[in-house]
Each structure stands twice: as C-alpha cells, then as structure tokens.
Chain length 212, copies 2
C-alpha cells in the first residue's frame, strides 16, 4: 500500500527530524524523499515546485504540500489530536510554543548549513564558523534550560511529550556536532528519556533511508 504522506527532507536536517518525530508520534506512515543539501538538491526545479523557498522539510499529501516544520507539526496535531503535542491550557501552550520557537527561530536558522556556507564565503575560517555555531547553540540552549527550570517531569513540560521535546532532540544532535557545552542537566535528562521512545528512535538521522 502506498503511504498517504511523503516527507521531502534530509536525514541530517534538524527541521526534517522534527517532522519525522511528529509523524511517528501520531502513528502516521510516510515515505521519504531525501535531498542532499550540500549538493543543493533542495534548489532543483522539481523541489522548488513543491516549495518555492527551497527549504526542507515539505510534507506532501494528495495534492497538498505543507512547509515549515513547526507549521507541519501543528497541522498534524490538529488533524490527529492524539497524542497531543500541545497542552490544553492557553498559557501552557504559549510556553511550549515559546520554547519551541527559541530553537526554531533563534538557534537552528542561525547555525544551519546555508548560513555557515555564507559565513565561509565571506572569508571566515573553519574554526570561526564552528565557533559561530557553538556560540549560537550555547546561548540558545542556556535560555531553553532556564525556561523550563520550574517544570518537573521527564519531558520539557511535564509528564507528556510536547512540541518542545520534538524541537529539542534534533537541536541536541547539532549541539554535539559543533562542540557545544552539553552542560544542561535538565535537557540531557529529557534527551535520555525521549530516546527511549520508539517515535524518537525511528526518527534519528542515522535510521533514515538517505543516511550515509
């Protein structure tokens, strides 16, 4: 049987990883199509027809293509309400979204491949480029750790996985890759817990069909 959903992404893309976790949590089966970002395949004519921004991920279903990982995750949460990725209370929802946006707005886009390539093209050497990424991640994850310091439970916001965990786990992969401090006690505990869950394990970069 052909799956209803096709995820256009890349095994190492943190934003694609978020969507894979969300799809797995929701119990949705999907096919994957991988784009090698270093070969600029996301700017191929075929992909630009799906997403004129030329960014992965894009989630295709029937004749609909959705883009931007957080928008896709919220869409999945709306059409498949269980298990829910956002709390019921409006203030708590806002806190989960804010934590997610620290990662999706203020960390990840500043340290993604596209930006690091732009920095290299401006003459920065490899050490400077890696330091740029590590500084961005350290400052951002310091904020994340502080934002949940009054929360308890195994996940970012209590007893249940939320969008915050969906964003956190992929960011920690990049944190390690760029030599970030990894000194965040709560974030490390949450990561260990998440990675016991099948939905997170199956979404890991190394478990994707396009992994090299």
């Amino acid at each position: 049987m052909t799956s209803q959903y096709t995820l256009h992404g890349f095994f190492r893309s943190g934003a694609s990883y978020r969507v894979r976790i969300a799809l797995n949590l929701k119990g949705v089966s999907y096919e994957q199509f991988g784009y090698k970002l270093r070969k600029n395949e996301q700017n191929s004519e075929a992909f630009l027809k799906l997403n004129p921004q030329g960014f992965v991920p894009a989630l295709e279903s029937n004749d609909t293509v959705l883009t931007q990982s957080l928008a896709i995750c919220e869409y999945l949460d709306e059409i498949i309400p269980t298990p829910k990725l956002l709390p019921d209370n409006a203030i708590e929802r806002a806190r989960v979204r804010a934590f997610s946006q620290v990662i999706a707005c203020d960390i990840h886009p500043i340290q993604n491949l596209k930006i690091l390539q732009r920095l290299s093209a401006l003459g920065l050497d490899e050490d400077q480029v890696n330091a740029w990424a590590a500084t961005t991640i350290n400052e951002g994850l310091d904020a994340c750790e502080a934002l949940i310091k009054r929360q308890s439970g195994p996940f970012c916001f209590g007893e249940d996985v939320t969008l915050a965990d969906v964003c956190l786990i992929p960011q920690l992969v990049n944190a390690r890759r760029f030599g970030a401090s990894m000194k965040w006690e709560r974030l490390m505990e949450i990561e260990a817990k998440c990675l016991t869950l099948d939905a997170f394990k199956r979404a890991m970069p190394e478990n994707q069909p396009d992994a090299v």
Copy 2:
C-alpha cells in the same frame, strides 16, 4: 485605570511590532516598557528575570510573562477569538503559519541587530553587513511572494487580516532600512492596505512612546 498588559519591547524591534499589531487588532489596551537594544538593556538583571533569553518582546500580565512573538500572538488569538488571526481550516492555518515562520524563523533572526553586531565583531565592514541583511531579506521575501501567488484578496490570505500580515508589515520596515529590492508586487499592495488600518498604524515604530 492601569492596563492589564505590559509589553516589554523596543519601538524598532520587528518582533515587538508584531505583538503591538496583534494587541491592537484584538482591542487590548497595554502599557509599554522600552529597552534600548543598542545599550543592551534587554540583558539587564531586571529584564532577564522576566525573560531569561534576554530577547524582546515579553508580554506581562498579572504574574505571567509570555515570550516569543508568534507564541504571544497565538495566545492572544486563543483567549480573544475575534477578530481571528488564523483561518478555521487546518490546511489554511498551516499555510498562514508557514508564511509567518518564513519571516519569523528564516528572515528576521538572520538580520536582527544581535546577528549584525556579531558579523561586525568578526571583521565584516558596514557594506558587507548591510549586504548580508539585504540578501537575507530579498531571498526570504521572494519566497513569501511566491507562497501567496495563488491567493487573492487585499491581505496575504484573502479577505481578512491573519498572522501572516502581522509578520509581513514589520519585516517590510527592515527591508527598506537595509535597501532590499522592494520589487514584490503583491507584498507592496498588502502593505498599502494594512497601513490603512488603525491597528497597524498605531503599532508603527514611529508611533511608540520610546521612539527617538
């Protein structure tokens, strides 16, 4: 009478401008507290108690502080449903959110003051820093124009203002400041329409109490 809400922001901050528009659209009165970003006031001890990330805006109400402009806008949309900032249909909601996230994730954070200061500190000259910002904005707004090319109506997504317009208008201020191309026909029409509305006009940077 004291207002229930205090917006901690900065007149020139695009993310604060988004929240001002949303508050105005929802008919909420609010006080403002301005932080001079060039003087690093957002990293003062007092503000870090409100938002450990040290980023504006933050919306304070009673003893609650909410952060991240999109999370704040969605919160306001949930507790004050009229006029709504997101369509009822899940796919349309996802499209409005995706457009908003192109701006809030992929344009604005790459060209904000903090990043431009980091580029200067790495030795880039003023022309290089301004070109960095202009390139980021041009590529991002090209994507925005493409994402709504099949939409009609005076606003980004039809006959009603949505979160997409709330994000677009502040970004266009930065686009002009950095000498972006401003060649986007639909975006320019939408801007002209939005700026006829009182909620947008009152939110403009030059109309804020901390404007200089």
